[in-house]
Symmetry: D2
Subunit: 132 residues, 4 copies
């Protein structure tokens, strides 16, 4: 599907834990990195937003762990963006083990943009993505 | 409630990100640490289990982010354990900002124990907690 | 010795890596956390400094790894502060496994304070500690 | 120089801290990842070694922080390996901001290989690299 953003990454050994697999919390790092890279392709820079006092904030994360990544694995992280409510948006993200594209994790990350006063709003750049 | 485990922790500056608040993924670290400490009080040691080939594995995480923690904050992390299905168990965990006990995060972490052959089962020590 | 700051901490399982021991980079987190806690006892808050545009910056780190920490270990981190040059200061820090006080790591962390213009200077509060 | 290994990477936002720059400890992650990738090109796999009971262990790290990396930066990490003593080897590693190749960090990481009995030795595969 043309709309889906996809980023290839690989496991770094320090991301693995005692069990020899990528620690649960690290997948959130992967997902966040892919979201930020995706937004950049749409002209939205997380750090510039933060510098302007606009904070992109996660309000809910749902993560289904399907298969563990381990040392040496290559994988891809996808991202699509949908409107969740008047003021909330949702990223749907999958992680696939490469090259076989076995599903590793499915996530729904709900977020909101807060302006400098802490009020939620949908930035113009987001409207444009969501309209697509 | 007598059954609820509670662990006090404090934010470390390196856990905060560009926005000046604790990064989303770090809360999973807090939750995991509290779960492991809770299990230890019940005679279950995560690393010993791993050494014996028993892997305690998260299959789903639901995280509701309510209020951000920041540099210098003290907080508590709770944990209760319930049976989710024949082979799955669920931790219900809250994070509270101290001393006012403002809710920071609510989480439901569903897990499974896999024996050395990768087969799910409920370890005896878990049965005993779940029976309580 | 009265001047030495000491902070007790314990290993969190997610800080351990494939080898089952605390990952090398994590010790820098422990050391940073202890430095910041030490500075707080002297009225110096890392985040407040950052907010005012004063950045406390590490320019060199020397770390001697003596003995690995692992899951479940308790340890203490010390900190003393000395003048290294006209504009640089040095933290001498040790990590000890508890309760036997076996040496785990010895570190010398050299730093500098940069004002809002990026110029190095020794903040007044530092002068007072260094004079002690 | 033909012998130098070089790996291109980019900063992930979660690696930046309150000051808006990459946290000091994260550079050790970058360096470790580059070392492991370098060793892989020589047929040495960190995890396989760990599984066989051979632990590659850092005994000393010297890190000179020259210029901070921040959100969005691309950089390269180099690695060369030299014999440090009969049983110790040393990685010399630089991090360069791209594309201008401004120096970000210079590191010397001294290590040792411990066999299953915890005895230091130089694995055959290392001898071959060191001989080059």
């Amino acid at each position: 599907m043309g709309k889906t953003f996809e980023l290839e990454m690989s496991v770094r050994d320090y991301e693995c834990d005692i069990q020899g697999v990528v620690n649960n919390s690290v997948y959130q790092n992967y997902l966040e990195h892919a979201r930020h890279e995706y937004l950049k392709t749409k002209g939205i820079d997380f750090k510039e937003y933060a510098d302007k006092g606009i904070n992109l904030t996660v309000t809910r994360a749902e993560l289904d762990y399907k298969y563990p990544l381990t040392s040496g694995d290559k994988f891809s992280v996808t991202a699509t963006l949908e409107k969740e409510s008047k003021i909330r948006f949702a990223f749907f993200q999958d992680i696939f083990l490469l090259p076989e594209k076995r599903i590793v994790l499915k996530a729904k990350i709900i977020g909101v943009a807060l302006n400098a006063k802490g009020r939620p709003y949908i930035p113009k750049e987001f409207e444009e993505i969501l309209d697509n």
